[in-house]
């Protein structure tokens, strides 16, 4: 700790230099320092007080007994461009190292050159499976800095759309997880139901994905006429069909055999690694920001936080399936309680004038033009605002220097942090279970790499 030298890995293996990313990848045991090896096998977590547990690291194992193989970045079951380097002893995984960055597009840097008005189009592309969550996190951070109050209707619309998005996201998860286990029916079912939600998104926002619907100050458009019927129909259909998934998967012996007791993680390990969302709740920690630190109007709706016991794959599956049902419950209450009023704040500083005014008023036209070219200025300061995305805590750390663009935009992506639990979960399991582990953590690579 008090070493003055900082070890930046400078390891070059001539063969590896040709084929790999170099030091980012998993190295052979004799090239790996003790503390790094301890981290890779999770011994830092198992030892008392987070010191290395020497019994847990077999330094003596020779390299010719094991094999390091690559999985990804273009492997179909790594859910995007995740690359895992696995050290195998026969069929069993000894060490795992996720190598990420293949989808890095510098979105945090891009966020610094886009104004707050444009920022939503950028952040919505981070977690492309649940775009509303990203926009919500960003907008809430901007609003906190601005000190703008959002009208009630906007809050409830946001909540309803966020829950619809949670359903869509969990359905994609169910679908791909089923696919990984060979349950192709689930794949078809999941995407079929998700289509209902996306069709409603298209009707409301004009787009199926990357919506840019939630914006600082409210939402982009009011709900379309007859939205209640659409939403109730979606709720009825999906709620009913969750019981079909039960029949298809929950009691199915092969599915259970692949999921129950596979890749468990304890609450202490999850907390130490910063894991949030369904993965944390599967270990029995009842932590859901919607309940624990309510935002929007989650304190005015009735829902249960689903908590697991064993922290294994099956718990994570069960939590996500039941969260779909809870989201349906929340959406039904949103339909009932949806207040009337504005769907965005009437503060002219952040909201453009209505379209009709632009035809008749030069000032309105200038106002509109200024807002979309220069943007609005946000008071200097810094803010961290967090929401519960389908994958865990999605935080947005925003620094403003008083200008119309964020000085620094950092998104705390739940997948990025949750991915650290993968090596721990995979250790000692077989390669075929590795695939279910990746999908049970549910990483979205757009968000991991940003």
């Amino acid at each position: 700790m008090n070493d003055d030298t900082v070890r930046v890995a400078e390891r070059v293996d001539p063969l590896a230099a040709e084929t790999s990313e170099g030091a980012q990848g998993l190295q052979s045991r004799r090239r790996t320092a003790t503390d790094e090896l301890g981290r890779e096998v999770g011994a830092v977590l198992r030892g008392s007080g987070l010191t290395l547990d020497p019994n847990d690291v077999d330094y003596e194992r020779r390299d010719d007994e094991t094999m390091i193989i690559n999985m990804g970045p273009a492997h179909p079951s790594t859910h995007g461009v995740l690359r895992l380097m696995l050290e195998l002893d026969g069929e069993f995984v000894l060490r795992t190292k996720p190598v990420i960055g293949y989808l890095h597009t510098g979105m945090e840097k891009t966020g610094e050159v886009l104004s707050y008005v444009q920022g939503g189009t950028n952040v919505t592309r981070m977690d492309y499976v649940s775009p509303i969550a990203n926009e919500l996190g960003f907008s809430m951070a901007v609003e906190k800095l601005l000190g703008v109050d959002v009208p009630d209707r906007a809050i409830w619309i946001r909540m309803m759309m966020a829950e619809l998005n949670r359903i869509a996201s969990h359905l994609v998860w169910l679908a791909t997880n089923g696919m990984d286990l060979g349950a192709t029916t689930m794949m078809i079912f999941g995407f079929r139901e998700r289509e209902l939600v996306l069709a409603f998104f298209e009707k409301t926002t004009g787009l199926r994905m990357n919506l840019n619907y939630v914006r600082p100050g409210g939402v982009a458009a009011d709900l379309p006429d007859g939205w209640e019927d659409d939403v109730v129909l979606i709720c009825d259909t999906i709620y009913e069909r969750t019981f079909e998934y039960d029949e298809l998967l929950t009691g199915q012996p092969i599915f259970r055999g692949r999921m129950v007791g596979v890749a468990p993680i304890t609450a202490e390990e999850a907390l130490a690694l910063g894991v949030t969302g369904p993965v944390l709740r599967s270990t029995g920690v009842p932590w859901d920001l919607r309940r624990s630190m309510p935002y929007l109007a989650y304190d005015q709706v009735d829902f249960d936080v689903i908590v697991g016991t064993y922290g294994d794959n099956f718990d994570r599956y069960a939590i996500r399936l039941n969260e779909i049902r809870e989201s349906v419950r929340i959406i039904r209450q949103c339909v009932e309680k949806m207040p009337k009023g504005d769907y965005r704040t009437q503060d002219p500083k952040v909201t453009p004038p209505p379209r009709a005014r632009i035809d008749e008023s030069m000032e309105a036209l200038i106002h509109h033009f200024k807002l979309f070219t220069e943007g609005f200025h946000v008071p200097a300061g810094e803010v961290y605002s967090a929401i519960e995305s389908p994958r865990g805590e999605l935080g947005c750390y925003l620094v403003s220097d008083g200008g119309p663009k964020p000085y620094r935009l950092h998104v705390r992506a739940p997948s990025f942090v949750n991915l650290q639990a993968v090596p721990l979960m995979m250790r000692g399991g077989s390669v075929s279970d590795a695939i279910t582990v990746i999908s049970s953590v549910d990483p979205i690579m757009g968000e991991v790499d940003r």
Partner: protein, 164 residues
């Protein structure tokens, strides 16, 4: 709003920041000690760690007694039992920013510190594997620094032109 029931150890500059978080401004020397005291105080999770390069915004508002530097590490701790957050901002230097790693307290900071190293070039003492995480291993420079120009690097498709 949750009332502030927390106090930082003496000698550490604190301030109430937005959303009822407690903000702390330790010196690099106080940093790990402070985090450890919060950890013992029931902050089970280190939610977020990121760096900020204040090159173009050096005159930012900080409480009295804090000497600002170009680079800042921002750590967000979360207490599940108290339902409270605390934000720790460390000034880590202007030229070659170095700071102690939180890895021994919160192993979950491993990837986040690698990200801060990769994108800002902040070094972490005691980190087990400080390599680039998002950028390729042979990348030069740290892209999220403010003096790292946007669009200066020609995109290498076929027949990439030489350096301009």
């Amino acid at each position: 709003m949750i009332p502030l029931s927390l106090t930082a150890p003496p000698g550490v500059v604190t301030a109430d920041v937005m959303a009822s978080d407690l903000g702390c401004f330790p010196t690099p020397a106080q940093y790990v000690e402070l985090v450890k005291s919060f950890k013992d105080d029931g902050f089970e999770m280190c939610v977020d760690l990121c760096a900020v390069d204040y090159l173009e915004h050096l005159g930012r508002a900080v409480p009295e007694g804090v000497v600002t530097t170009r680079f800042e590490i921002v750590v967000n701790l979360l207490s599940l039992s108290k339902k409270q957050r605390v934000r720790i901002r460390v000034q880590v230097g202007d030229q070659d920013p170095v700071v102690d790693s939180l890895f021994s307290l919160y192993p979950g900071t491993e990837a986040m510190e690698r990200e801060a190293f990769d994108l800002f070039g902040v070094l972490f003492r005691g980190h087990p594997d400080l390599t680039r995480i998002l950028m390729p291993e042979d990348w030069e420079g740290h892209p999220l620094r403010k003096d790292y120009a946007v669009g200066k690097v020609p995109v290498q498709f076929k027949e990439a032109p030489g350096p301009r």
